[in-house]
């Protein structure tokens, strides 16, 4: 910073002409518009493609469909088995997010008193779970799930998701739990509240913003997860949408309209949730990313 002070004439440099300013502003707007088009263009193109019939892909690949095939969606519902995989995805994501977030909050609250010797060690152990490769544990997991009779049920996905959501939850929530007002908790304890009541009525509400972040972070991940159901969910009855769509394509690779309508359906709920709660999504996902 020392050589900056050596240019006392700088205020003159900054007074650019208004034309230059306008050009700069236009160029910057152009960059933002191009970047937005780069993101939105392909998505819109896919949504349009999801309404096309198979011949129309080849006759008229780039324009709007002459005949909007809404039945692509009803056929995706039946033929591409979305009638099974969409409810599965909703059930698996909802149940796993709820349980995983509550368990992570309990752990975070339990570990928040770091003066305890075991607390720091356990915290490190949970957070190190972020590095465990799914590839390595998936087949042992498969064997365990089969042995306890969960294989072939939705629990075969729910149970691993709950556990795999914990490391991020603990990472994000422990600092928040550590900053909880101790006086409030002690006061409630003096009033005779049980530990469980304290947790449920005081700790959970106070940690709500953090809980929402963790729920969004894990919910988006579970909704979109592909590798775990690829191995652990072998039939449509227990598959979630991403793997259901990929296995459908293996069988009918020319039905492009159905493929893209399925992908659109699988993406739509998250996009709607995102548009309704843009701020929470952005800050929630970033909280996990920055800490991770």
């Amino acid at each position: 910073m020392t050589n900056m002070t050596a240019t006392p004439t700088a205020p003159l440099q900054r007074s650019q002409g208004s034309l230059g300013l306008l050009l700069g502003k236009t160029a910057r707007t152009a960059v933002l518009v191009i970047a937005s088009l780069w993101v939105l263009g392909p998505i819109l193109f896919m949504v349009i493609a999801s309404f096309k019939s198979v011949p129309e892909f080849f006759i008229n690949p780039f324009g709007l469909p002459a005949d909007w095939k809404v039945e692509n969606y009803s056929r995706a519902w039946t033929d591409a088995q979305l009638s099974l995989t969409l409810p599965n995805t909703i059930i698996v994501t909802t149940v796993a997010v709820l349980i995983s977030t509550i368990l992570a909050t309990m752990i975070a609250y339990g570990l928040s008193r770091k003066e305890k010797k075991w607390a720091m060690g356990l915290y490190t152990l949970f957070v190190a779970g972020l590095l465990v490769p799914v590839h390595a544990i998936i087949l042992p997991l498969f064997i365990v799930l089969k042995a306890v009779g969960l294989f072939g049920t939705l629990l075969a996905l729910i149970v691993p998701y709950i556990a795999m959501g914990l490391p991020l939850g603990v990472l994000v929530l422990t600092p928040i739990a550590a900053a909880l007002p101790r006086d409030l908790i002690n006061a409630a304890r003096m009033d005779g509240a049980t530990e469980w009541q304290i947790f449920w009525r005081i700790v959970m509400p106070l940690m709500k913003p953090g809980l929402i972040s963790v729920a969004i972070l894990n919910g988006v991940w579970m909704w979109n997860e592909f590798f775990i159901p690829l191995i652990l969910a072998f039939k449509p009855e227990v598959q979630t949408m991403p793997v259901g769509i990929v296995s459908f394509i293996g069988a009918y690779s020319t039905e492009w309209g159905l493929v893209f309508s399925s992908v659109t359906v699988s993406t739509l709920p998250v996009v709607i949730a995102y548009l309704l709660m843009t701020r929470q999504f952005q800050s929630g996902l970033t909280a996990g990313a920055v800490k991770g």
């Binding site: 910073m1 900056m4 002070t5 006392p8 700088a10 205020p11 900054r14 910057r28 707007t29 933002l32 970047a35 937005s36 993101v39 392909p42 998505i43 193109f45 896919m46 493609a49 892909f57 080849f58 309990m106 752990i107 339990g110 928040s112 356990l122 490769p133 590839h135 390595a136 544990i137 087949l139 042992p140 064997i143 149970v159 709950i162 795999m164 914990l166 603990v170 006061a187 304890r189 003096m190 009033d191 005779g192 530990e195 909704w223 979109n224 592909f226 590798f227 769509i245 990929v246 492009w256 893209f260 992908v263 699988s266 998250v270 996009v271 995102y274 843009t278 999504f281 970033t286 990313a289």
Partner: protein, 314 residues
């Protein structure tokens, strides 16, 4: 114990609940974690010391032979090299294009909220959906990319993007960039919003032009964002699987040109598309995954140490 409660003490809390009450809150989650992460991990390490194919009961203890073989297993290095290429390319992209877009958004242009919402959108889309969007865009028959290149006079570039070994890996990078750009923007944007306004003004009063203000004053303040994004990109690109699987299949087509560690491990442990059981070496695949975990953990630790050290100096 601070006595702030104005309400008379009804029941003194037992020593037990004060001292150990918290431990019970950890227990249910810990049991899940133990059953789904720790035990399978120990089990996986045990398996990696055998020659089990994953099918049947035929297995023998081979010690560290799988790990020894990995050290000279060239597909492992090829896959790791592809991961490294993707990592470096995405890293450069995030710290240039991503940073630049964040700087533009930080100036609060009109429709800022709209751009921000749109540019972050791919992050919430699944990598499977991303893969299909770009399979469609890049398709030689029904895609938009080739006709668009022709329209702007770059027709010579148009081609069979995913079946050409020279471009397939570049396509993987491009699609990964599309999906992950939102991270860079949002992380840098929150970093930029934390730069104190007085600092910039002070530099301007000292006579710094806007470029100097950015590189000498603002950019050093962004080093926590730089660290977070670099580590995130490292983990993301070395774990990549879905995009490669959807765009080029588990074999890393064409001719293993896009084979990454994720697909190599998947193929080794569970079989590729061919499913000829002779190719499946589950124990070897598991050894690969565990070795990858250790190396990644070590590199992550090193990255964080180096980058955090830089933060403190800056």
């Amino acid at each position: 114990m601070s006595q702030t409660s104005p309400v008379p003490v009804r029941k003194p809390p037992s020593q037990f609940s004060l001292t150990y009450g918290h431990l019970w809150f950890v227990l249910p989650g810990f049991l899940f974690f133990l059953a789904v992460m720790l035990l399978p991990l120990a089990f996986a390490f045990g398996i990696s010391l055998t020659n089990w194919s994953g099918l049947g009961n035929d297995l023998a203890f081979v010690g560290l032979a799988n790990y020894g073989e990995l050290l000279t297993h060239w597909p492992f290095y090829r896959a790791a090299f592809h991961n490294a290429v993707i990592f470096v390319a995405i890293l450069i992209f995030q710290h240039t294009v991503g940073l630049y877009l964040a700087v533009l958004l930080n100036d609060k242009p009109r429709f800022m909220q709209f751009y921000r919402t749109v540019l972050f959108l791919p992050v919430i889309m699944s990598l499977v959906a991303t893969g299909f969007v770009w399979t469609l865009m890049l398709s030689p028959n029904i895609g938009l990319v080739n006709p668009m290149l022709k329209a702007i006079g770059l027709g010579f570039l148009a081609g069979q993007w995913l079946s050409n070994p020279a471009t397939a890996l570049a396509v993987i990078v491009f699609v990964t960039a599309w999906n992950s750009m939102g991270w860079a923007i949002i992380i840098y944007l929150s970093g930029l919003q934390n730069v104190p306004e007085e600092l910039k003004q002070a530099a301007e009063i000292d006579g710094a032009n806007s470029r100097q203000v950015f590189w000498r004053v603002v950019f050093p303040q962004l080093s926590p964002a730089f660290t977070a994004l670099t580590v995130l990109t490292f983990i993301g690109t070395f774990r990549t699987f879905d995009v490669v699987y959807v765009l080029t299949g588990p074999l890393g087509a064409p001719n293993f040109g896009t084979d990454v560690l994720g697909t190599l491990i998947y193929r080794t442990a569970f079989g590729g598309s061919s499913f000829s059981s002779a190719d499946i070496r589950f124990a070897f695949g598991v050894a690969m995954a565990l070795l990858m975990m250790l190396v990644m953990a070590a590199i992550c630790w090193g990255l964080i140490r180096i980058l955090r050290g830089r933060e403190i100096e800056g």
